[in-house]
């Protein structure tokens, strides 16, 4: 006998449940967590290092580094500047998921952290579908990647809270159509909070850090 069974279940539900558990652990210790997504080479690690170097006094930070290959290149850089860091190697998977991040969170002393930056695997497609337990999603778009990225990878621009446009120092040398880029973003995510920065020169970091400090203070209050 054949029978039809209605399910109507969102396929990402089980990941989202784990993500909620992660957020519960973070909330219990008043930790504000950010999931940083970008294509390879957009400047995720440089952005984290610049943020560490300019961190407002009193904010204690931790980092989770996600990489697909078994490397510690990025986490070594974070460790070198004295920040607690946990490395996740996804073993070929193209994104972090809530399960992996949950295990990494358990390795951190959350008592000693106000701000957790999670560097996702470099990829503009896959990370968008996987909640981690973060309080904010950020995409770093760098100018040499081209202005067409919102049109080609719409999904990742949909669920984010902040957009960082990196490598503004290169604008005089490349053909990056800022209006076309911003229009694409506006169609997908109206009014998205956007900071244009250069990790090379430090330009634009004051505004980003002011936003960050406000969010961390709200979480600690």
């Amino acid at each position: 006998m054949k029978q039809r069974v209605e399910i109507v279940k969102r396929i990402m539900d089980s990941n989202e449940q784990l993500a909620q558990q992660n957020q519960g652990k973070l909330d219990a210790k008043n930790v504000f967590a950010i999931n940083i997504m970008a294509s390879p080479g957009a400047g995720k690690t440089s952005f984290i290092l610049q943020t560490i170097g300019r961190l407002p006094e009193g904010i204690r930070m931790g980092v989770i580094e996600g990489d697909t290959a078994p490397v510690t290149i990025d986490s070594d850089k974070i460790m070198a500047v004295g920040m607690p860091v946990v490395q996740i190697n996804t073993g070929g998977e193209c994104h972090l998921d809530a399960n992996q991040v949950g295990l990494a969170i358990d390795e951190l002393e959350l008592e000693d952290i106000d701000l957790l930056l999670i560097e996702n695997v470099g990829n503009l497609i896959c990370p968008a579908g996987f909640a981690l337990g973060q309080h904010a999603n950020i995409v770093i778009a760098s100018t040499p990647e081209g202005a067409d990225k919102p049109y080609k990878y719409p999904n990742i621009y949909r669920g984010i809270d902040v957009l960082i446009i990196n490598k503004t120092d290169l604008l005089p040398y490349i053909d990056f159509d800022m209006d076309y880029f911003r229009e694409g973003v506006e169609m997908l995510n109206p009014g998205l909070k956007t900071f244009a920065v250069s990790c090379k020169t430090g330009e634009g970091f004051e505004d980003w850090l002011a936003w960050l400090e406000e969010k961390v203070n709200e979480t600690r209050a």
């Binding site: 054949k2 497609i125 579908g129 996987f130």
Partner: protein, 124 residues
């Protein structure tokens, strides 16, 4: 590449639901996938063929219901579907838009064959 993880999720949900309904075989699986969800049908099918082997869902046919992204213009009210690239409102060129659909990624229903209740000693 993330299709491997999502296909594993599909298999898990399908097998759980099949078990709850005393299925001996899953014959069909109906999925709704929005074009903005970045999920590729062929890729899901590819991983499905591998990971469903040896389960009661190994012969199930996957049906993909593709939903085109639908946008609504907040200025002139026009609703339009995106066949290809993201474009401003075709009527008034506004970029003040709302995405109404196209981000779905779900299992709608499955079809199963149920275990026959054992019939003892049928009369002749």
């Amino acid at each position: 590449m993330h299709e491997l993880s999502v296909t594993e999720s599909i298999l898990k949900i399908v097998l759980q639901s099949a078990q709850e309904n005393d299925a001996e075989e899953v014959t069909d699986i109906n999925l709704t996938i929005g074009t903005l969800s970045s999920i590729i049908d062929d890729s899901v099918q590819f991983y499905w063929d591998h990971i469903s082997k040896g389960t009661i869902a190994q012969n199930a046919k996957l049906h993909f219901n593709r939903v085109l992204a639908t946008l609504k213009c907040r200025d002139c009210g026009l609703e339009y579907k995106l066949d290809e690239e993201l474009i401003p409102c075709p009527a008034c060129n506004s970029i003040n838009l709302e995405i109404i659909s196209g981000e779905e990624f779900q299992i709608d229903h499955i079809e199963i064959r149920i275990k026959e209740v054992e019939k003892n000693e049928t009369t002749r």
